[in-house]
Symmetry: C2
Subunit: 151 residues, 2 copies
Amino acid sequence: MHVTARADYAARAVIELAARLPAGATRQEIARSQQIPGKFLEAILGDLRRAGILEAHRGATGGYRLVADPVRITLADVIRVAEGPLAAVRGMPPEDVDYPGSAAALANVWIAVRASLRDVLEATTIADVLAKQLPEHVESLLARPDSWARR
Amino acid sequence: MHVTARADYAARAVIELAARLPAGATRQEIARSQQIPGKFLEAILGDLRRAGILEAHRGATGGYRLVADPVRITLADVIRVAEGPLAAVRGMPPEDVDYPGSAAALANVWIAVRASLRDVLEATTIADVLAKQLPEHVESLLARPDSWARR
DNA sequence: GCATAGCCTACTAAGTAAGTAGGAAAACTA
DNA sequence: TAGTTTTCCTACTTACTTAGTAGGCTATGC
């Protein structure tokens, strides 16, 4: 249950590019304003380009620019490009793990975990994050004080 | 967003021990019935013992036995022992990651993700899994057909 | 033609995940 | 008391991820 640096950086790069629309930005500009190691970011931007989320242009006036509307890009889309499927158990989708006898219902718990992750990450768009106006369901999670307890 | 083998195995070991109450089981017995590599399981059982979830006895009639009531052990408890905090971003709790400017609201999304994980994993006890009777909130997630889509 | 900037491959170094190996220590049994 | 069983502990292997570096190639605009 760990958001990797790749996924976090990918999300921030896409948010940064959304903020600069309709213009774009170079790798250096994104790296500096989001404090991401430049060459590491380069690899992530390559994945996002191959996934069709952004486009790149080489040369003196080159850089990256979002192709899709930030309203239509969800955080789930970006995370799947950077990290793979939203929820995996021992590297497999939850329904592929088999549980002998007494632990059978554990698979259902992992499926519920995946569903609740989707409820947050497929509902939240890049435009939502940029506007600091998250979906109702997400805001209601944040409104509960114990959501902020560290544990 | 990945459940490690450690966490999955830990949960299954505790479920297996709950199923065998009031008796216990040896590492070999747990390993065989849950199909977990024996020596790897040994390390995990050691952590669960040090966390006070189970107790161990050496010798010919030795083995492991749950000390707490399965109704009072949540999946979150077990996962925290095996894996650490439920949700981390780049190895840190979400509130410790700082986001420059336009990505500021991203921290809130990670906090909402953690809250929704807690809603599932702190509500579900070992007894629930064993009885195949999950909490209402979890069952209602599973009742939605798109929770079962692979994606 | 030159500077800029993305593209691609390869490498290093540290850390984690998953699993293995072997022996020491404790506890029961004959 | 000797032998068996089982946990306990340290150390190791293998592979992958994270983070970062180096350098050359390719496309683009002035």
